[in-house]
């Protein structure tokens, strides 16, 4: 395995943290369903990058590859399901604003 220089790796870590924070901000700041989905996707991508970093540090890239590929497959399934639900919401309300999803209260 080729070694990456330390500043390069640090930059990778900063980027991972940036993706993660961007995802959290995206979910908190927006009121649109599609953007919430994008935020979740960013969060999951951040975690994927974190797992890769851990695998690199542990020198165990084989196991990490298996984990990351499984993670990506499952994440696609979850996001596709969520997309289907958002699409149905759009068909019902003709809008993607999350304010329509506030009917359930006691």
């Amino acid at each position: 395995m080729t070694q990456v220089s330390w500043p390069m790796f640090l930059m990778y870590c900063y980027f991972t943290a940036f993706v993660f924070i961007a995802g959290i901000y995206c979910i908190l700041a927006t009121r649109r369903l599609i953007r919430i989905m994008i935020g979740l996707e960013l969060l999951t991508k951040g975690v994927t990058l974190l797992l890769i970093a851990v695998g690199y540090l542990m020198n165990n890239t084989g196991l990490t590859q298996a984990l990351v590929i499984t993670l990506i497959v499952i994440e696609v399934v979850v996001i596709a399901t969520m997309g289907g639900i958002v699409l149905s919401v759009y068909r019902v309300h003709n809008s993607l604003e999350s304010k329509y999803l506030r009917k359930l209260k006691w």
């Binding site: 797992l51 979850v78 289907g84 639900i85 149905s88 919401v89 999803l101 359930l104 006691w106």
Partner: protein, 477 residues
């Protein structure tokens, strides 16, 4: 056996989707019914050690680390019982045959996922099976595309995904500490460097993720919405077993097998559990919607399980496992009753009902049993498990928690009696005069579940010695 429990549902799924056209759609209910009964029989066969020796051959297909013990056996039995109930409810409650066929497929996928959760011995395969279960339920909640159900499904999917992200972050940190993802190596790594704050934070994040999945109080926002908005059979499945397997069972297993009963972990569990007991019980008092009230009651009862686990003593864990068993049975029964009432009257608002007991005798009678078990009235099963948990709290010196648990049990009785009085007791309302029992599926399901909850209460010593104590030995070697 361990890999069979994942393989068998997948084979059933293949059989269900054989290209036979309309024939299979009509027969799908019976195929699924046969499959779940077969799976239950298979479990008992394994339990009595008479399965044939093909295990190694089948295991060679899976590169996973799986194993089955008494606790997994008990949980898989509950999965099958609740799935059978949900299937019987679906036969009446989902009218459209296409939607019913889709739901039956989803229930089989969810049962594969839950079986996987119960046998996984590797933190990453655990995550995979949790997601399989969750995705099947996301689709099932939104199955009929009603606006309310879509809202519940969206909230569930959002919070569940956030829980997943939290768990994966924690998995990455634990993986960094251990170099592997199996429970055994994680545990030894945590024993070596268990005091490190980073690892403690990772454990905390993981527990928070599981609290979201199990709907415990600071993170319970999605649960009443998803339970009350879902179609009747889906809420039976979701409330009866899915949140319990994906949140509570996983928490039990991980605390025992990986995190260990550290003081910090136990404090978090005790505090979260007690908060859930209180908030769930008081929120349930004010509900009008039948299913929403049951959802809050579910939060409160799950709190008892977590508190029992949080004592960290042998007695408390036995109580937690027993309450897990009881709660799965009687909460499923109450949701079946709610589904039957909704089916035959079309109502969910409890203020508009009254006196249904005279028109729906089986539903009324079984709901009284579930209520008494839920509220902890002797000699029903719920009494024993609650008493064990409270005694464990008292013996381990957590007097304040024990007192809160006792007082909350009184509130439990209060809100359940309010429900019973509004819905089933009293004189029949004139506009509900023509109401009948909703159908044979509901009657069979509620009678069987009521029989289990009464039987487990009366034969408590036998059940405790032969089911709960062996199951506990899986957590406390």
């Amino acid at each position: 056996m361990p890999s069979l429990v994942i393989l068998v549902p997948l084979i059933a799924l293949l059989i269900l989707n054989l290209p036979l056209g309309e024939v299979m759609r009509k027969a799908s209910f019976w195929v699924a019914l046969g499959f779940f009964i077969f799976q239950t029989v298979l479990l008992f066969c394994h339990h009595f050690r008479c399965i044939c020796g093909s295990e190694r051959f089948i295991n060679s297909f899976f590169g996973m680390d799986v194993s089955v013990d008494h606790l997994s056996f008990m949980v898989m039995f509950l999965v099958n019982i609740v799935a059978l109930t949900s299937l019987l409810v679906a036969r009446h409650a989902i009218k459209d045959s296409d939607a019913r066929f889709n739901f039956i497929n989803l229930i089989v996928i969810a049962s594969a996922g839950m079986n996987g959760v119960t046998v996984a011995k590797d933190i990453f395969s655990l995550y995979v099976f949790l997601e399989v279960t969750a995705v099947a339920l996301f689709i099932a909640i939104a199955l009929q595309r009603e606006p309310r159900a879509l809202e519940g499904a969206f909230k569930y999917i959002l919070l569940s995904s956030i829980a997943t992200v939290m768990m994966l972050t924690s998995i990455a940190v634990l993986f960094f500490a251990a170099g592997d993802t199996s429970f055994a190596s994680l545990k030894s790594a945590l024993q070596v460097s268990g005091k490190s704050p980073v690892l403690l934070a990772a454990i905390g994040v993981f527990i928070c993720g599981l609290f979201i999945k199990g709907g415990l109080v600071p993170f319970h926002g999605w649960l009443p919405d998803a339970y009350s908005a879902a179609p009747a059979p889906v809420s039976v499945l979701l409330a009866g077993i899915v949140t319990k397997v994906s949140g509570i069972y996983t928490l039990m297993r991980l605390v025992a097998a990986v995190f260990g009963f550290k003081a910090a972990v136990c404090d978090v569990l005790l505090f979260g559990g007690t908060l859930s007991i209180l908030v769930g019980a008081f929120a349930a008092l004010g509900q009008k919607d039948f299913k929403r009230m049951l959802a809050y009651s579910s939060i409160s009862q799950v709190g008892y399980i977590i508190v029992g686990l949080g004592t960290g003593t042998a007695l408390g864990i036995a109580g937690a496992i027993f309450h897990f068993f009881n709660h799965a049975i009687f909460k499923t029964l109450l949701f079946v009753n709610a589904a039957a009432v909704e089916e035959s009257t079309g109502l969910r608002n409890m203020n508009k009902m009254g006196g249904l007991s005279s028109r729906m005798p089986v539903t009324g009678a079984t709901s009284v049993m579930a209520l008494l078990s839920n509220a902890g009235i002797p000699p029903l099963a719920g009494f024993w498990s609650k008493v064990i948990i409270i005694i464990a709290l008292w013996v381990s010196g957590r007097y304040a928690y024990a007192v809160i648990a006792i007082l909350a049990a009184v509130v439990t009785l209060a809100y359940l009696l309010i429900m019973q009085r509004k819905v089933f007791f009293g004189n029949i309302r004139p506009e509900l005069d023509g109401t009948k029992e909703a159908g044979p599926g509901y009657v069979i399901a509620s009678v069987v579940l009521a029989a289990i909850t009464v039987g487990a209460g009366i034969f408590f010593p036998y059940v405790f010695d032969h089911v709960i104590i062996p199951a506990r030995s899986a957590l406390l070697p």
